[in-house]
Amino acid sequence: MSADASLLGTVQNVQGATVSVELAAETITGIAFVGGYGYRIGQVGSFVRLPMGYVDLYGVISQVGAAAVPTHLIEQEPYGRRWLTVELVGESNGAFGFQRGLSQHPTYGDRVFLVTEPDLAKLYGRQDAPNFLRVGHVANAENVPALVDVNKLITRHSAVVGATGSGKSTTVAGLLLALTDGARFGSARVIVMDIHGEYGAALADRASVYRVNPDTAKGELPLFVPYWAMEFDELLAMTLGKVDDPSRAFVVQKLHEMKMTSLQSAPRPGVTSDSVTVDTPVPFSVHRFWLDLYNLVNATHTAQPNAQDLESIAYLMENGIAQIGDAMSVIAPKYRAPTSGGGVDRIYLSGSPLNIRRQIQTLTSKLRDPRFDFMFRPGGWLPDQDGVPEKDLDELLRCWVGGAKPITILDLSGIPSSILTDLIGVLVRITMDSMFWARNLSEGGRERPLLLVLEEAHAYLAKDDAGPAAVAVQRVVKEGRKYGIGAMIVSQRPAEIDSTILSQCGTIFSMRLANAVDRSHVMAAVTDNLSGLLGMLPTLRTGEAIIVGEAVQLPVRTLIDPPAKNRRPDSTDPLVYDNLGPGGWNRAREPENYADVLNVWRRQNPRSPRLAEEGV
């Protein structure tokens, strides 16, 4: 038996940062006891220490093996030639503690030791450092906290990936709770794009929830995205859809005029009639815009095409009233039928060369569709026909990026799926723009960084997707660091996410991932010589994550601290056999009432209308 129970063996081969170690003949496979604690020897993913004088090198075991031994040596080497492959990761010396990177390499014959719990605490430690935040504990050492550097976690972006049921949402909720702990981070701010409406309940006391059909009993607030906050291309996609080039040029001009007019009736600080463009977030009335375009292409006139103007429109008279339509209630005007005969009473068709009748029809139905009201009738942000709303966007930004609570949840579960991608693009872009331009203000992201959590990211950040969401998020992950806006990408299908976006995520929390393609994407995105560690991904337990990247000193296999039971996202698997809860298949069927089902469906709000009062 060796004098030091923690001795593993000696270095045989060094190639770059990869070291082969032969286990000493006296090292027993199984458990070694050091300082009263048991340590398993030769566990893939565990750490080893290579003392080199004043400096200790540290590495991770990536492979273990054994080879046959010739029979005449069986006495000397009863356990065979056993070896470990170790990836070196860093070093520590007394003065500086642990650092990534190596100043020297080991050589043959150097001794290799187990890493004991006090050593591990040194590796992961620094609980005293205020920028380090505990997210859980190291998987094989309960007393060693897993710490992440919040500076790097937020601004260098992160990704949380894992198969369904691996504990992703719970992990995200746990991270957000840790990050918004008022005692430590009183000014934390987080925006969550919650596609399924899972997080509202879990983060209730820390978050303001904005939802299209808010449940006011729960304190939810209405989500409004004023159309006039959008850039021209975004607006075009939301309103008319694709138009040909001449029509587009016309629409640009029309919109510009309307914004100019609005600006004249209500000047806005920061923008002048010289600087206003179609992209400037200046209010205008989309209803007026609709009516004008409608008249332009559909109206009949009492004048010939070359002499037509608004005065010459031949409105239909009903009961002595000209049917001029109504912009705000989206009532289309009616016109007299064109005639082909001569004479002074002849009615001419519109002379407009624009080919956008179909697109205007689309806009008509969108303006009438209550599902789009959050955008086209955005409460106090709805401009009147002259393009002057009651509130300006500062109020909106205060809700989103400056709310009273640290977390803002934009619950997108009631948004028509046809516009979800476009809408997320708009939300991310508006957030990014506000942080970008406010970079020198105390409200800006440089002074008060903002974390943007993107749930179910594969749904709108797909590979080769050049949609507005992908473009906006790419901008965040590429440039956000400079303006204090960090993204946290959450997905169960990392393989489907645009690799530019994934590779910009400095820190990856990888939960269990069984799919080989998904795994290879995560491994490819890891900028570390430790991608070997990710070989363990299929065998992680629920709630266990490997954290790699910039926010951790070392890749660490972590059991994430789960939030309290009543603060978990609403995404646990339904139980088919349920003997503890109220449901499941193993019960008699109580009377059913599908009127309630229809009620919640129509209201687009999952809260039962029967509930007596709010349960705590």
Binding site: N579, G581, R587, E590, R610, L611, E614, G615
Partner: protein
Amino acid sequence: MDRVAVSSSSIASVGYDPETLTLEIEFSSGLIYQYFDVPEQVYNDLRNAGSPGGYLASNIKGVYRYARA
């Protein structure tokens, strides 16, 4: 609604609103459900049952409609 703790492996606490005949149960999972149109007697029986979980399974589950609060 005020709830009182009960000793059971599946139920943490129960409450009752006689106005609306609503029984509120906090399960040990932390989730809260409301059962509708439950007579007060059932609530009293549930509280006094030797095994509230067993009483729930035999007399409430499959009898009354409920919703998650």
